[in-house]
């Protein structure tokens, strides 16, 4: 019995470490230690469980070979893939790890269902099934999100009557789960629910466009948290419950914060078609087609050299082109010549919130040079040059002026207000929302076509030659 109490104490400590760790993760100075603290809490909880856990019948944990073998394999695979992944591929990596957690929860439920006896209360069965359903949805959804971000899956699919289909699917999963729990437990039916849940996860993510993927990953992240919490209920395990619910609620809040940043509701992201593209793309471009002015690296070097203030607007294209180091070099040269350089960070630039910050931090851009949207939006009017690198939708003036546009109402960076806007872009192709950008036709806009890294390298070379 005393051993059981020691384990409770360890779980308590683990839970506190999780909470404090999460709190520390939300401040730039304490974040890294917070991550360590949470990892320490996890290690404690895992070791405590292995060596001290006893089930209801008082049996200790066995099968050490299997357990340590599994942990060893998972550690090596997880460690290597986390260390090797490129910064640009970070979002899909997080999605993949999230999917693993979801699958883990689903597997636990599958095994536990086999341990049921005739007198297991229905609510316990419901707990098991809930873990299975949520875990499976999180797993298959995360894998689809991974495939989309990794560009294995390039198209956005939308079945006819998609919304009705998903609602029917959701309702049948719910109905079958209740039917199964209250007196009709059968393994066959459980696997039907399992399969339907996997299908639901796929159908849930498939129609959602790449621009909304951050929201989806965050939502699935909180799903896995909830699945873990159901495991906590099942095993009367406090640390699983606190850890899972903590992530469930924090993840939900984060999801809502992201939706707010795009001025859209969660239901709109899930059931809306934005990013699915196509339908509205044509009618949005009602502006009188001006001409697009293409420019050269030397012209742009001159413009920047004689500017007083330059604001860089980075987007996903910067990450794809791996141009984070060369943009920092450009910034350093300009600063040396007395030009004030800032980075304007749109909350949803890139494929995850904070994606740009992480990327630019990699190339040692100072933390205080990255300015958030609300703070910098008034400064564009007094800025000489805005340099848009691989961003598109977040500077599209249609969001302010054109009610027909699918992104109408989304807060944008007012880059168009600057004296000159330079847009580095590979081609005239539309951004992730799949809509045309009238900014490119504005009289104060110059296009710098080509790979961002190449283009900026050329601008830097021109600047160096201008002494």
């Amino acid at each position: 019995m005393l051993q059981q109490y020691w384990l409770y104490l360890i779980y308590l400590l683990g839970s506190v470490f999780f909470i404090v760790g999460l709190k520390m993760l939300s401040g730039p100075k304490t974040a890294r230690n917070g991550n360590f603290l949470a990892a320490a809490g996890m290690t404690l909880a895992i070791l405590g469980t292995i060596f001290m856990h006893k089930n209801e019948d008082g049996e200790s944990i066995g099968n050490y070979g299997w357990i340590f073998g599994g942990i060893a394999i998972g550690t090596v695979l997880g460690w290597i893939s986390a260390k090797k992944v490129k910064m640009t591929a970070m979002p899909q990596m997080v999605s993949l790890f999230n999917g693993m957690g979801g699958a883990c929860a689903a597997l636990i439920s599958l095994v536990e269902f086999g341990h049921l006896h005739g007198d297991t209360p229905p609510v316990t069965i419901l707990t098991i099934v809930a873990g299975l359903v949520i875990g499976s949805v999180s797993f298959s959804g995360s894998i689809i999100a991974y495939a989309k971000l990794q560009e294995i899956l390039k198209k956005t699919f939308k079945l006819p009557a998609q919304n009705i289909l998903t609602i029917i699917l959701m309702a049948s999963i719910l109905g079958l789960s209740i039917y199964l729990s209250f007196g009709h437990a059968s393994t066959g039916l459980l696997y039907v629910i399992f399969a339907l849940s996997l299908a639901y996860g796929i159908l849930f993510v498939l129609p959602i466009g790449g621009a909304d993927m951050p929201v989806v990953i965050s939502l699935l992240n909180s799903f896995t948290g909830v699945a873990a919490a159901f495991g906590g209920f099942l095993y009367d395990n406090q640390v699983m419950l606190t850890g899972g619910i903590l992530v469930g609620s924090a993840g939900t809040l984060l999801t809502i914060l992201m939706c707010n940043a795009m001025n859209r509701s969660l239901t709109n992201v899930i059931f809306g078609s934005f990013g699915g593209g196509g339908a509205t793309a044509g009618e949005a471009s009602t502006f009188a087609g001006g001409t697009v002015k293409s420019s050269t690296p030397s012209d742009i070097a001159i413009l920047m050299n004689y500017a007083q203030k330059v604001i860089v607007v980075p987007g996903y294209g910067l990450a794809v082109a791996q141009a984070q180091h060369v943009i920092h070099e450009l910034e350093a040269i300009l600063e040396k010549r007395g030009v004030e350089v800032k980075y304007a960070i749109h909350p949803v630039a890139g494929r995850m919130p904070g994606h740009m910050n992480v990327l630019l931090a990699e190339s040692n851009v100072a933390y205080d040079k990255l300015v958030e949207m609300e703070e910098i939006n008034d400064q564009f009017a007094t800025t000489d040059v805005v340099f848009v690198v691989g961003a598109n939708d977040v500077v599209n003036p249609a969001a302010r002026s054109n009610p027909a546009s699918p992104i109408y109402g989304m807060p944008i960076l007012n880059a168009d207000k600057a004296r000159t806007v330079i847009v580095s872009k590979r081609s005239m192709a539309a951004g992730y929302a799949g809509i045309d950008n009238e900014l490119f036709y504005y009289p104060n806009c110059l296009m710098l076509f080509g790979d961002a890294k190449d283009s900026i390298t050329k601008v830097v070379a021109e600047l160096k030659g201008m002494d």
Binding site: G14, G21, L25, S26, A31, R32, N35, F36, A38, M42, A45, T49, H53, N55, S60, N63, W66, I67, G69, G70, G74, G78, W79, M90, V94, F97, G101, A103, C104, L107, I108, V111, G114, P121, N221, T224, A228, A229, G231, F233, Y235, N237, V239, M240, L241, G244, I245, L246, V247, S249, A250, L253, M258, I345, P347, M352, G354, V358, N364, A366
Partner: protein, 102 residues
């Protein structure tokens, strides 16, 4: 209905933890700057890897001859560990970069 009330009654402490944890989760991250959203999401992702505990319990109590349970449990342990280790290491890599510059 009775069984639901019984469940709540028997698990009232867990339900308290559940409700309080919801508020703690919301409170704890409510002031996060958007620059830290990605590492925070990644850190939270690692924390829900706590589901590994369930996997260890399942694995640890699987009977010797019950191959489906052994194999599914083993897979669950691997996947849970991947979630935990990968999650924390990726988060640390992101945060490492925040620290270097100054």
């Amino acid at each position: 209905m009775d069984s639901i009330i019984t469940f709540i009654g028997e698990n009232i402490q867990l339900i308290y933890i559940l409700i309080l944890s919801i508020f703690v989760g919301i409170e704890v991250i409510s002031k996060v700057p958007s620059a830290l959203h990605t590492p925070l999401m990644s850190g939270a992702n690692a924390i829900h890897g706590v589901v590994i505990i369930g996997a260890i319990i399942v694995m640890g109590h699987a009977e010797a001859g019950n191959w489906p349970a052994l194999i599914l449990g083993f897979l669950a342990v691997i996947l849970g560990t991947l979630n935990v280790v990968g999650g924390f290491v990726v988060t640390d890599r992101m945060l490492e970069m925040f620290k270097k510059k100054k």
